[in-house]
């Protein structure tokens, strides 16, 4: 395991496989109800969340406990972020509070890179702006691999708000590294320039994206995108561009439904699809725990 987990960009197939294999092992512990492992005992983890995310923060918190690490939460007042408090000061403070692993969520792209240059601790990027969310990419790949037994040769359709999504970026990078094909579809106002240069195939319609895919991954459409005029109404969005049961029929047999949650039922995906038998959306949450346990274990061993 490398020193920091800042993103999936630049990670090799072997590095990803090491984490996924370890995560499988962690998943076994979870399934057996074994929550008091000691893989990382003696390690201290700091959860540093500049952006609110109870889900991800709690996932890291439990993951740390389940591998025997100590964890503390530092909540940062959102006002100091908007004031643009120097990241350098934050880094120096963290450097002085001795800790082994810093888990950071920040609204600004590159924040974890910045921190990693100024502290001795390991840094785990728990999401930086629109850039990357590597543990999400890893848990998504773990979910696919556990279902299909492989990643190579799979076709994954990522659908929704691609432009503002760090989940999309981490998945595109990770999946293409592992030999999967990634198709993306988003309404044009939610598509970033040059995404094809990252290795994704851009589809012209949601149907084209779903057709022949093994995985349908929906991304959350935030209602503020409608307020800022990027689409005219939820009604039109869901009808024309939503993941509905009818559209899911275009996918390959045995295809699975994924979503990083929280889900907007009736916007990017219908409730019926969320609750369908091939939905892995809640399974992803458990796999997230396993992946984070694996990363903390591997980092603790690397110190």
């Amino acid at each position: 395991m490398r020193k920091h987990l800042l993103g999936l960009e630049g990670m090799s197939r072997d590095e990803i496989v090491e984490i996924l294999d370890t995560a499988d092992m962690m998943r076994d512990h979870l399934d057996k109800g074994e929550f008091d492992n000691d893989y990382a005992s003696g390690s201290s983890v700091v959860n540093l969340f500049f952006e609110n995310s109870t889900r991800t923060r709690t996932s890291f918190e439990n993951a740390s406990k389940f591998v025997g690490a100590n964890i503390v939460n530092i909540s940062v007042a959102s006002s100091s972020v908007t004031k643009g408090e120097s990241m350098y000061d934050t880094a120096m403070t963290l450097q002085c509070i001795k800790n082994d692993i810093i888990v950071m969520r920040h609204s600004i792209a590159g924040a974890a890179h910045y921190l990693s240059k100024h502290v001795d601790s390991h840094v785990i990027n728990a999401g930086d702006g629109q850039h990357e969310h590597p543990t999400q990419g890893l848990l998504d790949m773990l979910t696919m691999r556990r279902h299909f037994g492989r990643l190579e040769g799979l076709t994954v359709a990522i659908i929704g708000d691609i432009k503002y999504s760090r989940v999309a970026r981490s998945n595109i990078i990770g999946l293409t590294t592992m030999g999967a094909t990634v198709k993306v579809f988003g309404i044009k106002t939610l598509m970033p320039a040059g995404i094809e240069e990252m290795g994704a195939t851009v589809c012209e319609s949601i149907e084209e994206a779903i057709k022949g895919s093994d995985v349908i991954m929906g991304l959350r459409i935030q209602l503020e995108r409608m307020q800022s005029g990027q689409f005219p109404s939820v009604r039109e969005y869901h009808r024309e561009f939503g993941i509905t049961a009818d559209r899911v029929k275009l996918a390959n047999a045995n295809a699975i439904i994924m979503h990083p949650a929280p889900v907007n039922r009736g916007v990017e995906i219908s409730g019926e699809v969320v609750d369908s038998a091939n939905s892995k959306i809640f399974e992803q949450v458990t796999n997230g725990l396993a992946v984070r346990m694996a990363v903390i274990k591997l980092m603790s061993e690397a110190k």
């Binding site: 960009e9 910045y114 629109q130 320039a193």
Partner: protein, 418 residues
């Protein structure tokens, strides 16, 4: 009497004699005895008219922690400049004669480079009503611009171009439609990869088009600041072919840098307009070679270390550039064989003087003694920690460059030597 000894003039070794701020004699006599006259040994460097930068930010009054007039002018002469034009986004903004007067007095006290301030287009740089351009002109401004806060209202821009033209003042357009410029870097594959919100190039190009069409319809002049895109160059080329009175500048940042530099999230690479793509960079160089772009201006934008050590999105825009400009341009334009040193001299000096109708150094008898001596073979690595400027913010630190400023003479006085 002062003699600039042992410098290359037109390819020949010469001694250039000065009396006061004028050239009195150019001697090619190698056996000339200069021992009784104060002199400076140019050691075989090339003597050129000193550079003029029509786009700098000296930050005074108001932001002296970023730069002040003295440190800015020290930086200017170290960069080979004999004159600079500070933009009016000071605090308070330079929108009235009293601030212009303050800047002029401060600059005179420094006895370094000449200062030709640029006044605001609009009162308070608010884009609502015209500033008192004629009063500011009496105190010394040579142009008007709302640099950094572009004039959004086309109606006001029209009035500004007409009013300024009547005074013989140049209007400089920082061409940017803020509605299309809500990001931090060039919108494109690198912005997407880095996950940083992009600024669409049309933010710049649409406003260049507007200014050009206004200049055509009103029969006035307009100057486009810091051109950064290929389409921007094409628009200006089209306008010039039609006889529209447009001039344009670009800068070392766009000649030498692309948005690859943002990929490691170095806030020093954050600049407005943003660093673009390689195809833009090449189009800009072509524009400089074929004369579409008239001159090179640094847009020297010093900031403090603490401001530039914030996260990328919250750090301010701007690159400090007076002290690296010549070396960067020489390396990218002359050393590569794209143009001659004489052509670079036009871009950095004579064309700027023509656009602003101000004097510049001339290596002829009775010519103004504003000179720079450059060593064409000196190689070094850019390191802003050695700069006179308070602004150490540059993404070009560590670049290997060729061509170095050895000395600068302003008004017949040696104001900088290495």
């Amino acid at each position: 009497m002062f003699i600039i000894k042992n410098v290359l003039v037109g390819g020949k070794v010469a001694n250039v004699h000065l009396i006061g701020n004028r050239v009195s004699k150019i001697s090619y006599d190698k056996s000339e005895d200069t021992s009784n006259t104060p002199s400076f040994d140019g050691k075989g460097g090339v003597l050129m008219p000193a550079f003029i930068d029509m786009h700098v930010h000296l930050r005074e009054p108001g932001y002296e922690y970023k730069e002040d007039i003295k440190s800015g002018l020290e930086s200017a002469v170290a960069g080979g400049y004999s004159a600079v034009c500070p933009m009016p986004n000071t605090n308070p903004v330079t929108d009235n004669q009293y601030i212009v007067n303050y800047i002029m007095n401060k600059a005179r006290e420094c006895k370094l480079a000449r200062v030709y301030p640029i006044g605001c287009i609009s009162k308070g740089m608010k884009g609502l009503e015209l500033a008192e351009m004629a009063s500011m002109q009496k105190e010394g401004i040579v142009a008007v611009s709302d640099d950094g806060m572009p004039v959004a209202s086309s109606g006001l821009m029209r009035l500004a171009m007409e009013y300024a033209d009547g005074l013989g003042l140049l209007v400089i357009s920082h061409s940017e439609d803020k509605e299309l410029a809500k990001g931090y870097v060039n919108e494109g594959a690198n912005a997407t990869r880095a996950g940083i919100e992009g600024i669409n190039r049309v933010a710049e190009e649409s406003m260049i088009a507007r200014e050009i069409l206004l200049a055509d319809a009103l029969k006035t002049r307009v100057h486009i600041a810091h051109v950064s895109t290929a389409n921007g160059v094409d628009l200006i080329r089209w306008a010039k072919a039609k006889g529209i009175r447009v001039t344009a500048e670009t800068g070392p940042n766009y000649i030498c840098g692309t948005d690859e530099l943002i990929l490691d999230y170095n806030p020093s690479a954050k600049v407005n307009p943003p660093l673009r793509e390689e195809s833009d960079r090449l189009a800009i160089i072509q524009g400089l070679v074929d004369g579409t772009i008239d001159c090179i201006a640094t847009d020297h934008a010093p900031h403090s270390m603490s401001e530039k050590s914030k996260e990328f999105a919250t750090a301010p825009f701007g690159i400090s550039g007076l002290e690296s400009a010549f070396s960067m341009c020489y390396t990218e334009l002359v050393l590569t064989g794209r143009m001659t040193l004489d052509r670079l001299s036009e871009l950095m000096t004579t064309n700027v003087a023509k656009i602003l109708d101000i004097p510049c150094g001339e290596i002829v008898e009775d010519g103004l003694a504003d000179f720079v001596i450059v060593d064409e073979s000196a190689e070094y690595i850019i390191d802003s920690s050695n700069w006179y400027s308070k602004g150490k913010n540059t993404p070009f630190n560590g670049r290997h460059v060729t061509g170095k400023v050895m000395a600068t003479i302003v008004d017949g006085r040696l104001v900088y030597k290495i």
